[in-house]
């Protein structure tokens, strides 16, 4: 076998040593200025410019930007960062490059909406992102669900949440769950009529036993909420007229012409406390009611299937 020449040996040695030395120097440089590698920079922020620069290969660029967004969020989340300045622009660029990349809306909104350190604390940007997604993919019911979820969980805007779930429930092949959620949100928002309509529709149209059962429970709870509100108004009216609280539910029913002893959907008469509060006899039988519960009572809130 031919022996390697001196030049080969020297050149190979220099190559290996130089490579190792350059890596070492670079590592030391990173240690001297750690922020330089940790803080990412978005040199191009305009989705349109990036789209032009991608020469039509938008799909691949979208995948790259989505991966970058995931990496950016994951890195900062791992270190419980309090700011996620680049997250929204990264997601917006991703969505602009590939408007049909559903995962960017679904997961992106869950990165953007929650407050730091669990998210960027930008629910409004999350809403704008999903609204753009809905505009581009109007037949995707999941996006409506995600949008309603942000309204409900982050903004506690039950009315908007209900509207969004309701919009989504009209999308062809939408999951029946959306209708269930729409009704639930409407109930939380105090819009009994809307909620009753949605829950009744859910009850009548669903093929799923669990959803049907759930709808029935919500309809019962709606009736209780409305009854209690009505009875509470009667107590107020009685107090204004007589200057005292009614001593019993029977006295209230008689004085306010309620047409007999008011009973809950299970046939149990409503209770009237000495403080003039109207309550149900068995709160555990109505897991979804909002009114008529004893102070401090926490219902066993069953998750909707």
């Amino acid at each position: 076998m031919k022996q390697p020449s001196t030049t080969t040996i020297v050149a190979s040695t220099v190559l290996v040593l130089s490579l190792a030395a350059s890596s070492l120097v670079l590592h030391r440089t990173d240690e001297l200025r750690p922020q330089a590698t940790a803080d990412e920079t978005l040199f191009l922020t305009s989705p349109k410019v990036i789209e032009r620069a991608s020469l039509g290969f938008n799909g691949l660029m979208a995948c790259i930007y989505w991966t970058r967004a995931v990496q950016y969020f994951g890195y900062r989340h791992h270190y419980l960062a309090t700011s996620y300045n680049l997250l929204a622009p990264l997601l917006e660029i991703t969505a602009h490059l590939d408007p049909h990349l559903i995962v960017a809306y679904e997961f992106g909104s869950s990165f953007l909406a929650p407050a730091p350190p669990h998210g960027a604390g930008e629910p409004q940007r999350a809403i704008e992102l999903i609204e753009y997604g809905i505009q581009q993919n109007p037949d995707n019911w999941r996006l409506y669900y995600d949008l309603g979820f942000v309204y409900y969980m982050e903004l506690h805007d039950y009315k908007k949440a209900a509207e969004t779930f309701e919009r989504g429930s009209h999308v062809p092949n939408a999951h029946p769950f959306l209708r269930v959620m729409a009704a639930q949100m409407a109930q939380h928002a105090g819009e009994y009529q809307t909620a009753r309509m949605l829950w009744s529709a859910t009850y009548q149209t669903t093929q799923d036993d669990q959803i049907k059962q759930n709808a029935a429970e919500h309809l019962r709870a709606l009736r209780v909420d409305e009854d209690v509100e009505h009875l509470q108004d009667a107590v107020t009216s009685f107090g204004e007229r007589t200057g005292r609280l009614p001593s019993s539910m029977a006295e209230l029913a008689s004085a306010e012409h309620l047409g007999g002893m008011p009973v809950d959907p299970d046939g149990q008469p409503y209770k009237l406390t000495s403080q003039g509060r109207v309550e149900v006899q068995n709160p555990d039988d109505f897991p979804f009611v909002i009114h008529g519960l004893p102070p401090g009572f926490k219902p066993k809130y069953n998750a909707i299937p």
């Binding site: 032009r52 039509g56 290969f57 799909g59 979208a62 989505w66 991966t67 995962v103």
Partner: protein
């Protein structure tokens, strides 16, 4: 005539293979297998999308680079090496030489694309563990990419017929970039007035419209491509390539080779 064109085409193909053009397949295989394995670990729910997007984009870009860098040397190299005189001293017409060169380069790219397509499907099977009916749409994207190559080959050959390799590369690559913005040019023409409108409209129709061939993103989302579009793109590519080759033939036929 047919035999002479086929002979020049097969020689062009052989020359490209001898020039180790197909080595790009190794880089392609490494890129795709690396992406297929790594993306699942660094991203969320886009493994299949990445394989399709990256695979088809790589097929397209590798092919464009090959088409430009081989196409620009097809004529000038023959003149430089003086092999052109040997060829033309035989009963070979100049237009046959140009057409043969075009088919040789196009054939090289088709073979290259075929092997890359196998790579795309292997990577796809690796990440998805199965094929679905919609995966067949990838063939449409590959077909459009091949049509795109036909146009680029013809343009590279056109520039090669009268210009130096360096300038030909610049011209061909510039046209590829401009062609990718053809839709924007058309939009600009729609907004302009007077002479600008005429100039912009003329330019929009003169430059190749590559954006029409790029359906990768749609295919990745399993959106079907209408048969009419396939037909129109086929006709457009054939007409445009024929136009550019005719230009190359006209120029080369009048060129003083002394």
């Amino acid at each position: 005539m047919k035999t002479r064109i086929a002979y020049i085409a097969s020689n062009t193909f052989r020359e490209a293979v001898r020039d180790r053009v197909l080595y790009n397949l190794i880089a392609f295989a490494l890129l795709l297998s690396g992406a297929a394995i790594l993306v699942g670990q660094i991203s969320i729910e886009i493994e299949k999308l990445v394989v399709i997007n990256l695979g088809l984009t790589a097929v397209s870009l590798f092919g464009v680079v090959i088409a430009i860098f081989i196409g620009i040397g097809l004529v000038s190299k023959e003149i430089e090496k003086k092999t052109l005189y040997t060829v033309l001293s035989h009963p070979v017409r100049r237009w046959e030489f140009i057409v043969g060169k075009f088919f040789g380069l196009a054939g090289t790219l088709v073979v290259n694309t075929f092997f890359m397509a196998i790579g795309v499907f292997v990577a796809l099977f690796y990440v998805a563990h199965t094929f679905v009916r919609a995966d067949a749409l990838i063939f449409v994207a590959l077909y459009f990419i091949v049509l795109e190559f036909l146009i680029i080959c013809s343009l590279a050959l056109l520039f090669s017929s009268f210009s130096s390799p360096l300038l030909s590369a610049v011209f061909a690559f510039s046209l590829f970039v401009i062609g990718s913005f053809a839709e924007d040019l058309r939009n600009f023409a729609g907004m302009a007035h007077g002479i600008s409108r005429w100039l912009a409209t003329g330019a929009a129709y003169l430059v190749p419209n590559f954006s029409a061939f790029n359906v990768i993103t749609s295919i990745a989302h399993q959106q079907p491509i209408a048969g009419q579009i396939i037909l129109h793109n086929t006709l457009y590519a054939l007409f445009y390539a024929a136009m550019a080759i005719s230009g190359a033939v006209l120029i080369f036929d009048r060129r003083d080779l002394k």
